[in-house]
Amino acid sequence: MGAAAGITVFIMGLGITNLSDLVPWGLWITIDLSSIALSGGAFLFCAGVYLLGLEEFKPVARTAAYIGLIGYSMAMLCLVLDIGRPDRFYYGFIFWNTHSVLWEVTMCIGLYFMVLISENLSTLANWEWLANKFPRQAAWMRKTHDFAPYLAVAGLVLSMLHQSSLGAAYGVLIARPIWFRPGLAALFFVSAIVGGTALTFLALSIAGRIKPALDIGQDIVLKGTRFLGWALVVYLYLRFWDTFAMTYTPQPGRMEGLAITTGGLLSFNFWAGEILLGAIVPLVILLNKRWGAHYWLRTTALALTAGGVIAYRWDTNLIGQLIVQQPFLPDHVPFYASYSPSLVEIAAGAGIIAYGLLAFTLGVQYFRVIRPAEA
């Protein structure tokens, strides 16, 4: 159904979405941003294992890298859906505008996707069909694992660049006072670390529960989730500082933005989705020794954290677009645009998410993405 919706969009054009000139970026961009953020575990754990030498996290890094591969492919599917001319998706690589943040993000995502493919070659070589049919190619693919440290360096550099630049893409827009602040780049980066860690351990926990053979061990999970707890503290602090110190200024547009975030349309998302359920509840659970060791509590906390990052991306994307300022007019009063995704947007978005889940389960089944002990 998602594929059908996607094809419909390609044929009928973006006119069948609920997007408008005032709110040109909607649900798909949120899914795109979220899947990139939740793929943040890939660069984090690859760097941790291959650069910092945290060998015990090796199984985590393998899973994270595979999730990253899926996440970035999901993001690129979203982008191809979202742009008006999908047939020109590669133009960013041909026509360079080095002044554009979005160009930098495009280049980084393209290059990082190649890094992710390279990082996953050794995992993909586990596919039995491939190993039987093309043993030489499979052996060659397995060998690429020797380059893991170099790939980790490239992944770290490219990820730090584009994870933060996705925030900066909003932050550089002088036309939108609610976005025009320096905090977005830092927040996007930190929340990518939080979200990536959460999703990686969420996938590992659930897989380990369903198939005990895939359990990577309580010790390492607890270490990882404890790290996540502290990362959440940093994120929460930054989010509060960003919201109430950077945004709380009398500049026209900013106060309205703050008002709809904390008391208007987006307030449930903000207070419940981002702050309470997305950060405070999980950090309390994960940092509490007894609760953090409890499977259901821990899994819930991980899922809530990932949800919180998604809520943050949704709020950030919408907030700057909902307040339409025509400050050149005498009354200076901004008005509020509205947007709610149309059926076809939801269907295509759900299709992309379903593809991601399917790709992950197939990976667990055939590529042995989760391997507790190094074979």
């Binding site: 054009g13 006119g15 040109p24 026509f95 505008n97 554009s100 979005l102 005498p330």
Partner: protein, 262 residues
């Protein structure tokens, strides 16, 4: 005025452009002939528009003429007219085309460089390069840009009562905006006309205005309609605080009182 300042990047760009132009014109005889026909290199011209709010009565003839001339679908307007409050008991209006900023946010954010500056200051769209990401839509402080959500098919209701189209329609999925009617300017110059003075070489909104509230011309020419209008009255530009350096100037409705707008 920021347009008179020369910063380093601007200087380098102009020198490179000049060097490239010189090399190109030496290489291609065709180009040399054309530049002689134009009289002076186009980098010496800086197109600008002046809109006199005291004359504008909000009739929107400019909107329709623009729509006909550029073949714009009914749901899009390159030139918009907003009511802008009362001055001395009379309604005033603000007509907003693309500002053709000297430091345009849309040009710097475009990931593929589909928005670009012409040497004469016009901010242009390359419809063959635009991928439709709509970042420029979000980045423009003046909401001067519009996206082609659907294919424009059928008749244009503004044609022929407000004029005939002289540019092709844009395909679905690209962003479009006001071009200062570059097609009229370029053709006019090739015919030896003066944009802003000769009607055939002047943007459609300017010639269509029944109250003669709009002026167009070369800012670097002190005798052009825009230079003369700006010399006579004080003027303002929209959101000058953003540092975008708009090329559209407004003469306030109340010349003696405070300015209308920021």
């Amino acid at each position: 005025m920021s347009s008179s300042k020369i910063n380093r990047r601007g200087f380098i760009k102009v020198s490179i452009a000049a060097a490239a132009a010189a090399a190109a014109s030496k290489a291609a005889g065709l180009l040399r002939n054309q530049s002689t026909a134009l009289g002076s290199p186009s980098s010496q011209r800086q197109w600008a528009m002046v809109i006199d709010q005291s004359r504008c009565n909000g009739c929107k003839q400019c909107v329709e003429a623009c729509r006909a001339s550029n073949d714009i679908p009914p749901e899009i307007a390159w030139n918009k007219v907003y009511p802008s409050g009362e001055v001395n008991g009379e309604d005033t209006f603000l007509s907003v085309p693309c500002m053709h900023c000297a430091h345009a946010p849309c040009v710097s954010v475009c990931p593929v460089g589909a928005s670009y500056y012409r040497p004469d200051g016009i901010v242009m769209m390359d419809y063959d390069r635009c991928i439709g990401c709509r970042y420029c839509l979000v980045a423009c402080p003046y909401q001067a840009r519009a996206f082609n959500w659907t294919t424009f098919e059928g008749e244009n209701p503004a044609v022929p009562s407000y004029g005939e189209p002289d540019v092709p329609r844009r395909p679905r999925g690209v962003v479009e905006k006001c071009t200062f009617c570059y097609q009229k300017i370029d053709r006019g110059l090739a015919l030896g006309l003066t944009p802003g003075v000769d009607r055939a070489a002047t943007p459609a909104c300017v010639t269509a205005c029944p109250r003669k509230a709009r002026f167009f011309g070369n800012l670097n020419d002190p005798e052009s309609p825009v230079s003369r209008a700006l010399a006579k009255s004080h003027s303002y530009r929209l959101r000058e605080d953003l540092g975008t350096g708009p090329r559209v100037y407004y003469l306030p409705a109340d010349r003696n009182g405070k300015e209308n707008g920021s």
